[in-house]
Symmetry: C2
Subunit: 534 residues, 2 copies
């Protein structure tokens, strides 16, 4: 127990009660040693899942009607309680994921800042997109009624956190925070690879709920290693939406469950992607070694376990610049010291993915970490493969993501190859271009294609690392996500958990403040076609 | 041919070519006589559908890069060409649907005004939700990059118009106009119940495209009476989204097709609903006859063929007010002169739906049009049924929509019945409340439930009739629509056809105007957290 400085009850947290109806238990595993960590976590029963969602639905009205100030204070309380909880959270997250403590601390900072950013947004209030069209009783041929609308929360939200961000994209992640910001109760399916971190983070939220005297039912956490638990959650009639970060396979399966319900609900899955990097001629000529260094850092940070990990690099191969880029990348990959992956399942999938690449004709291993990875520690070496545009065309599998520090360099024969590839690639969270402004002009066709394929276009930068802000977009066409309008990071992600509600000829006294004539909240609105705070 | 003043070629319109590969043909039918109208319409082949969507995809880049002024001019050209086309459009629409000419003229006005409203929005430009977070190169522990984002069009959109609005919610409807406003090419599946109106409307759009020298491929129209044509369209790999207005059965089937694609696409279906009216005690006391008159008008306008048709009226039955409401409604229903429905399929479904209601125990016929409807003219009588809250509980089928002039009055024993019903009802496009402000306060629980169930809440008004404006919401929880965030009417409906694209560290010279520092378009943006035009 000393490893984390806290005891784990391992039960479902259903509002303000604990529950462990099932005797089926599992433990958190320390990937570095493959040993069990303290705490027996109970698989949630269907009845427990039902109680959690039912309680969420029952507490919805009280919660959604809290003022903006009260909701903002709650989000700030989550930030404060996260810091007040101390290092037990970081210790357990580090133990369960193999992430160094500094990484866990960085994730905590991100969660804290994110909660505060949403608190600001909720307090300011304009995000509700309030709109007013005044009545025109004398209009011909028909009078025009008074019409007003704004975004309201949709109801209980199910959240499936990611294994790779045990703090920042899990219980304390943007899904939970944006659902709360919208006014939606949350039921979390704890990630079975970091159940202890989930319990600690859940305790933080419970503390914040108590501090703010909010209904306990707005938050529950259920555990489960089986597909059943997630499926039951998504199928629950009282659930209004679900958010997921994880694999394509898992995401698509739950997406299908959500859509085949008698009453379908939106299932927002962020499922990763290939995140290509295009290196254009002038950039290759001017700074190939620098780009190689940045690329390998982006590829290996966090043992390559990022949704935005760059899985392909394409460049014009008929230049000294490409050779430099290739050789520097290969050297840095060789120098990479193998590291422990998140859990043995991910490690296994990585090894299998690499094996498949090794057996592909037309694909050659360009480099590999010199030191052998230690199997028992679930360590991953860095792998670099190489091919040419011909090879890429023959191997559509190269367009699929292999999660971990492996990437393929594609030496292209002419600029048309870059466009051909871009046209063929699946939807992606990101696409990066290295070049000069002149390169960008010379390859405007490539940019035009990438604007249709990726959620975020990066110039002279690397895909890994994500600002949490108003303008970020962490989404993209399928399979990056299931719905490209929505993002899972940044303030826009609140749109996943709201819907417009329109009030026609409604009395002032019964309207939400944002829609009242006097605009007591002072929000930006569209009034008779004008954007104004008046 | 003289009926409409135009000849119909009956072919697919694929960009600037006509095509009639299949010899399978069908005609428009005049519902009043069940006779065929001029024009042989060719069922589209899979190859024709493929060509239409492929052409749409090929023309996408050129179209989406047009300036806001050019896109606005195109929408205005559609409005102008609609008026310039003359009455042939109205004549054919009236013949194919049985709608009186004045109704068709009103639809045309709505289409024209709608195109102009979207033109204004596009010219102003703030709808793209531009956001900028400036770089902070000195930030610790990591520098912050420059991040900007805005909404961009998603690609070719498939449109399935409604049978009940041959002009305003068909080829010239909000789906087409909002897709064009976003910068998306459109492929329309013509409604087989008004194929001639679709051809005429398509000609109007082709005229506008020519006038504005836009790529012909941004618009195609394919015909079909079979499920295959719509299914092939939705399954086409190059389609990015589809919009539909019609029945729950048809909408759900295509929704399932869209979601089971290898690459799922959003399918935005507006599928109608029950649209309950709640009449509260003080309103019943003060103006029961007036409400009855408004209700019957709303129920019978357009032969009850509206998505927002009121299928249930609930009120407190222990009052003289309810008795007055009931008897006045019954009298007006009896006076309703049966009218021709849109087509024999809808007429048949109406008759079947009414038959089912007639055989439900606990449900009584309160009134029916005195004059018998003429079967051969596909006429519908107005039917009013009545039951009490007990009857409602035993017949969940009452929660299902029967399309046409039929409604059920529910006499409730106590205020709790209203809430119980509201809690049990499915998602609905609208819910209406008649009452005083005091009634509304006394029934705040009811309002709170309806806010979670309906897209539009109407006070002392009736659901039929819809303002096309910024603040309208024509959507709602399933089965009203497949995704409650989106609307199919009003300027917000452009959100269905766009997605955010984020530019990180992107050079000014390569950014869209809306994201450039100087804000040359003058749009409202969120810049470093502030909403501003600076």
């Amino acid at each position: 127990m000393e490893i984390s400085g806290m005891n784990f009850h391992g039960q479902q947290i259903i509002g303000d009660t604990l529950s462990a109806d099932s005797e089926e238990i599992f433990q958190g595993i320390k990937p570095k040693t493959a040993q069990s960590l303290p705490g027996d976590f109970h698989e949630a029963t269907n009845d427990e899942i039902d109680r959690a969602v039912t309680l969420a639905a029952e507490s919805f009205d009280e919660f959604r009607k809290k003022s903006n100030a009260e909701k903002a204070a709650f989000l700030e309380a989550i930030a404060d309680e996260t810091l007040a909880f101390g290092d037990a959270l970081l210790n357990r997250a580090s133990a369960e994921t193999g992430h160094p403590l500094e990484r866990c601390a960085a994730e905590r900072s991100r969660s804290v800042n994110q909660a505060r950013l949403f608190a600001e947004m909720v307090r300011e209030g304009s995000w509700v997109d309030a709109r007013i069209d005044h009545a025109e009783p004398d209009r011909q041929p028909l009078p025009k009624p008074d019409i007003r609308s704004m975004l309201l929360p949709i109801g209980p939200v199910g959240v499936f956190g990611a294994s790779n961000f045990p703090i920042a994209i899990s219980v304390l992640g943007a899904d939970t925070i944006s659902a709360f910001a919208a006014g939606c109760p949350v039921v979390i399916k704890a990630h079975p690879a970091h159940p202890g971190t989930c319990e600690a983070a859940a305790q933080i939220i419970v503390n914040a709920i108590k501090k703010c005297r909010l209904p306990a039912g707005i938050f529950s956490l259920v555990h489960g290693r089986t597909v059943r638990v997630g499926t039951e959650l998504v199928k629950h009639p009282a659930l209004a939406a679900a958010a997921f970060t994880g694999s394509l396979k898992g995401g698509r399966a739950l997406f299908d469950v959500a859509n085949s319900r008698p009453v379908p609900i939106p299932f927002y899955a962020e499922m990763g992607s290939v995140n290509p990097i295009f290196v254009l001629p002038e950039a290759l000529e001017q700074r190939s070694a620098e780009i190689a260094a940045g690329f390998i850092t982006s590829l290996t940070t966090g043992v390559g376990q990022f949704c935005t990990n760059p899985g392909l690099v394409l460049g014009m191969g008929d230049s000294q610049g490409w050779e430099n880029f290739r050789s520097t990348s290969a050297q840095l990959a060789a120098e990479y010291d193998p590291q422990t992956m998140l859990h043995c399942g991910i490690h296994y999938a990585f090894e299998e993915g690499v094996k498949e690449l090794q057996h592909m004709g037309g694909l050659m291993l360009a480099s590999r970490s010199t030191r052998d990875p230690i199997e028992q520690k679930s360590e991953a070496a860095c792998y670099l493969f190489e091919t040419d545009s011909e090879g890429l065309h023959h191997h559509p599998a190269l367009f699929d993501e292999v999660f971990g520090p492996v990437s393929t360099l594609v030496k292209c024969g002419d600029p048309g190859d870059l466009e051909t590839f871009a046209n063929q690639m699946d939807g992606s969270l990101t696409a990066s271009i290295h070049g000069t402004e002149q390169d960008l002009k010379n390859h405007s066709g490539l940019v035009s294609i990438l604007e249709k394929k990726a959620g975020r276009l990066i110039f002279n930068g690397y895909p890994v690392g994500l600002e949490v802000c108003d303008s970020i977009h962490h989404g993209g066409p399928y399979p990056a996500t299931c719905h490209s309008y929505f993002t899972s990071i940044g303030t826009r992600c609140i749109n996943r958990f709201v819907r417009p509600v329109c009030y026609q000829s409604w009395p002032q006294s019964a309207l939400p403040p944002e829609l009242q004539d006097g605009n007591p909240s002072g929000v930006m609105r569209i009034v008779d076609g004008e954007r104004t705070r008046n």
